[in-house]
């Protein structure tokens, strides 16, 4: 071994954020079969089986063909699950194997570390969303009526579920904890949030009960962005999703700012 010439590194915290984001994207792309391909195929199978195969035997919903009606909800579901599972697994793994220490001891502020992880999850989620949209629109004949509202809805949902993933990744004691939240909380709430049907068809009291489900607004706002159709006013849906996003982001930021459960 030979000694090295001294160099002094000046602090460039923005570079730290850029490199952490890049590391998260690197992980997603390295595991692309698991992180990108599997959720895309899974969502497409839903579209083919429920939409194209059974769609003809199901009546139109709000004047929209069934195979088209389910597309936005399925895309929202795939994106939400991707943002959640990406961040919960990357944080849990980094905590468990303790390589998170290399990031926590680096000259980066708490919000930069937080943002780096959120961007990593958002990248995976958006990549899945773009791929599914590119395949589903020509396949089913779905439209893209309100791109601006769709963009807002998608950014809110990826941020909210990315933050939820961070929170679960920080609190999780085992891999079971995060799959429990995914399989027994997120997935049922999304299914019951009107991915495959309009909640207006449920009648009282189930329609009103569905409005308590926050995931209903995520699905409804995304559907408005794609098809211009929604069960409630899109402004209300977007506002509720925005409030949920703010709460979850504040919580996950709190975890990084205080080091709660990240540092003993």
């Amino acid at each position: 071994m030979t000694p090295l010439p001294p160099t002094r590194v000046e602090p460039h915290p923005w570079r730290g954020l850029a490199w952490l984001t890049r590391r998260e994207c690197h992980r997603v792309l390295k595991l692309w079969k698991q992180t990108i391909l599997a959720p895309v195929i899974s969502a497409l199978l839903f579209m083919i089986v429920f939409g194209l195969s059974l769609g003809d035997s199901i009546a139109r919903i709000n004047g929209i063909e069934y195979q088209v009606y389910i597309v936005p909800g399925l895309i929202a579901m795939a994106m939400a699950q991707a943002a959640y599972s990406n961040n919960s697994s990357t944080i849990f793994q980094a905590r468990n194997d303790r390589y998170l220490d290399d990031i926590l001891s680096a000259p980066m502020s708490a919000w930069q570390v937080h943002l780096g992880y959120l961007l990593g999850g958002a990248m995976r989620s958006l990549l899945i969303g773009v791929l599914l949209t590119a395949v589903a629109l020509p396949l089913t004949g779905a439209t893209l009526d309100n791109p601006f509202e769709l963009l807002v809805a998608v950014l809110l949902l990826t941020t909210a579920f990315g933050a939820l993933g961070i929170i679960v990744g920080v609190y999780a004691q085992s891999w079971d904890n995060q799959s429990f939240i995914n399989n027994l909380v997120i997935l049922p709430l999304i299914f019951l949030g009107g991915v495959f049907y309009s909640v207006t068809r449920l009648g009282t009291p189930w329609e009103q009960i569905s409005h308590i489900n926050p995931l209903f607004y995520v699905v409804d706002a995304t559907r408005y962005g794609f098809l211009g159709a929604s069960d409630v006013n899109p402004l209300i849906s977007l506002s509720i999703v925005a409030v949920i996003t703010i709460i979850l982001v504040t919580w996950s930021q709190y975890l990084f700012s205080t080091g709660h459960r990240l540092k003993p």
Partner: protein, 256 residues
């Protein structure tokens, strides 16, 4: 940076864990700039908690830390510290080169600078043949090399080595120490924790003994031996750190 003679200054550092364990009990410590400083103590004495608190990995309950005059939690302080932790904690998704490259990035280097520095460290630590191998596929010795290379990559002013030679073969130990010695001669402050007392005696300018979350003795190896009237550092250790426990064990073993 204000002029200071202490690389690391710790005042009244206390850490009480959630389960009530008092790991650090109002600990005071100054590590002089440019020194090779040894921290010795038994398992559970508070060494790793102390290091964690200095490196922003443990939340102190009370006390102050400053690194070359900068508050311990400041970005400037963090940039000046390089840490090689006791257990290899390497990112399982990155190769040797990527581990070093990303570490440089986290510490503010641009891609070219971090890449160049990573290649230098790969050569310096004889990791060339493993450059594109992921961390989980490295042997224990190679992981240890990579851990040290990563700690030194951003050229820190204060290098903290927590049991760096635990489980390392003799040849690598000598290699690592010769490298660290040169680094120290170039002006880098080294804070070392080790269980190898002869290693501490041979390398360190000053040694502090930690027990029960407090510094219980501190001097040069020679000074400590003279103070306690003994011939070896091991005897000093047994008297200051392990003395109480050994006495208790002897009393317990004595026939009633």
């Amino acid at each position: 940076m204000p002029p200071t003679s202490a690389a690391l200054s710790i005042k009244g550092l206390t850490k009480r864990y959630g389960d009530g364990t008092l790991a650090l009990d109002g600990l005071d410590l100054d590590v002089p700039d440019g020194s090779f400083f040894g921290l010795l103590g038994p398992n559970g004495a508070g060494k790793t908690t102390l290091i964690g608190a200095v490196c922003n990995l443990v939340r102190p309950t009370a006390g102050e830390i400053s690194v070359f005059g900068n508050p311990g939690s400041s970005m400037q302080a963090r940039r000046m510290i390089g840490i090689a932790e006791q257990e290899p904690n390497l990112d399982k998704f990155l190769t040797v080169f990527e581990t070093l490259l990303y570490h440089g990035g986290y510490y503010g280097m641009d891609k070219d600078e971090a890449g160049e520095r990573a290649e230098q460290m790969i050569d310096a630590f004889d990791l060339r043949a493993k450059r594109d191998v992921e961390a989980p596929r490295l042997s224990g010795g190679m992981r240890r090399r990579l851990l040290l290379a990563r700690a030194l990559l951003h050229r820190p002013n204060l290098v903290i080595l927590d049991e760096p030679t635990a489980g390392v073969d003799l040849e690598l130990r000598h290699e690592l120490w010769s490298y660290i010695r040169v680094l120290h001669e170039q002006g880098t402050t080294i804070l070392l924790t080790t269980h190898y007392l002869e290693e501490a005696e041979a390398l360190c300018d000053e040694i502090a003994m930690i027990s029960g979350g407090r510094i219980v003795a501190r001097d040069t190896a020679k000074g400590l031996k003279e103070l306690h009237g003994v011939a070896t550092l091991e005897e000093v250790y047994l008297k200051t750190v392990a003395g109480g426990r050994i006495q208790l064990a002897e009393e317990a073993a004595r026939p009633q």
